[in-house]
């Protein structure tokens, strides 16, 4: 304990105009150790994130020939090229539709589940696990299970529909039903994480608010709308932005459930088009231009999110 006190006084002494020599030497040693500890991470991050990001933007404005290895300036040519492609424009629309239906529905379900789970009840961990399980399991593996459930003749869905006398559609091979099917899977998979963030936020709401409402004789539903929802506003914005960014980058379930862009290109999304352009047609520059467009969408969403959250904070 004495040594601790001494060390504190030494530390404050080091802030004096002329630091003792020993301290300065120690500082240099510590810095050297820090540089060594940081070096592998910094090199890795520059190599696998820094350079690729710069390259994506660079390649988007150039013509890169994979086979010849030549690069020449192209200005906005790549962007003109991709927006002249109807399927790319369609994929933007599909991404927006997918996000528009997936995010709000999953959020509403998630907030209700979170409120129900935020009680002192038995078996809480089991319920939470059931709702969170879809999030931690591999999208590919579980998408195959959904594919089997969507099977037109033998699948679980059409079996259940048959019981109630409805003739089920062909789901994943029907251009009208493929996208709703993908959205359904994504909602199911997306509930868990949103619920968890809401659950964490709910635990920060002061209890006396509810006690005061109890004294006033407020009902459970009234308390939900008058206290819980307003108090959850920052969390809601956060969940909203994170989910939008996630939804704009949906790939795995689309790729597995509806290969090759789905029936009549009905489920092709931006990420799938980037994949197809880069690794199907090997048009690297066009793929990078598409990546930049996707990045622009995500950037706008993030900025809007920041604005909204920031404003919310000012009001409070």
């Amino acid at each position: 304990m004495t040594s601790t006190l001494e060390s504190v006084s030494v530390a404050s002494a080091s802030r004096a105009p002329r630091p003792p020599r020993r301290r300065r030497k120690l500082g240099a040693e510590r810095r050297r150790a820090a540089y060594l500890m940081l070096a592998p991470s910094v090199i890795h991050l520059i190599w696998w994130i820094g350079i690729p990001v710069v390259a994506t933007f660079g390649l988007a404005f150039t013509n890169y020939d994979v086979i010849a290895g030549t690069v020449e300036w192209a200005g906005l040519d790549n962007f003109r090229e991709i927006f002249a492609d109807d399927i790319w424009n369609l994929s933007i629309w599909h991404t927006v539709v997918f996000t528009f239906f997936t995010v709000p529905v999953a959020m509403v379900i998630a907030v209700i589940i979170a409120v129900l789970l935020n009680q002192r009840i038995k078996a809480l961990a089991w319920y939470r696990a059931a709702f969170f399980m879809p999030h931690i399991t591999a999208t590919v593996a579980i998408a195959l299970v959904w594919m089997w459930m969507f099977e037109p003749n033998l699948g679980l869905f059409n079996l259940l529909l048959d019981w109630v006398g409805v003739n089920g559609p062909a789901w994943l091979s029907d251009p009208d039903w493929a996208m709703p099917a993908v959205i359904l899977v994504s909602i199911w998979k997306g509930i868990g994480l949103k619920m968890l963030i809401y659950l964490a936020a709910l635990q920060n709401i002061p209890h006396d608010l509810y006690e005061a409402a109890d004294i006033d004789g407020a009902s459970g539903v009234r308390k939900f709308f008058a206290i819980t929802l307003p108090m959850l506003r920052p969390a809601t914005f956060f969940v909203f932005i994170v989910s939008m960014i996630d939804a704009f980058q949906v790939f795995d379930q689309v790729y597995v459930l509806t290969p090759d862009g789905g029936p009549a290109n009905s489920t092709t999304v931006m990420t799938y088009e980037i994949y197809r352009t880069a690794f199907g047609e090997f048009d690297i520059s066009a793929a990078c231009a598409q990546s930049v467009v996707l990045f622009a969408f995500l950037l706008v969403l993030t900025v809007i999110g920041r604005r909204l959250t920031g404003k919310d904070g000012d009001e409070a």
């Binding site: 820090a34 940081l38 969170f132 931690i136």
Partner: protein, 287 residues
Amino acid sequence: MKRKVDARWVLHLLLGVGGLIMIVPFVWMILTSLKSRADIAAYPPNLLPDEWVWSNYQAALDYAPFGTYFRNSLLIAIGHTVINLMLATMAGYALARVPFRGRTVVFMAVLAMMMIPTYTKIVPQYLIAKGMPFFGGNDYLGRGGYGWLDSWWVLIVPGALTPFAIFLFRQFYLSLPRELEEAARIDGMGEFGIFARVMTPLVKPAIATVALVTFENSWNNFLWPLLVTTRDDLRVIQVGLAAFQLAERTEWSYLMAGSTLATVPMIVLFLFAQRYFVQGFATAGIK
């Protein structure tokens, strides 16, 4: 009092039904994996298998190299977890505890990299892997061959470090009291010793969280291994499953057996370590 008991029952009913709906796909997956071929083709379908064909798993393993896929995924996930823990703890410690010029810049860069979407970097990442000099028949400029494509290098190295891990460790190291390191320093311990023997044992919750999240992401990763591997013996289980499905559309019991192999390890891990998962995902809010 009676009203309260009733409300409790309603709560359990709602959560029970909701939870059941959420796990239906998992149950259906396991049930299908245990059905015979005739059972699967039966119309109308049976909910439970007529006979429980446990041999489906052995048959699936014989039919497609799911065993190899499983091993590959396991090795890669363990590799990612170990490397991420080693590099990110060191980096997080340096950023949190040692003052040096440019520290804020480095930290801001890590934060920015956390927010970079996959698709803003994946195409050049592929090109970098393909152009790795001296590998896979490449010359010193990385031309002529396949570089790192179809190798263990490309499966393990690029995804081995996440900015999120550095960020999380930095936050944890930052919260430790200064007296600890000062005392160790008086005792003559070097900076690395303080990091490894004094501070790191105190951030065990962060280690557990990062380890689980890294393992989970690595095990479930699909796009990168899909892009960089074509050899069957290097496929991870997610890519192997997707390939098997494209080749054998109707072998549903084998496919479900494979899906079970691909999901059950994560489910078991999650049920045992739920607390750390929940902590990790709730604080991070990102995958």
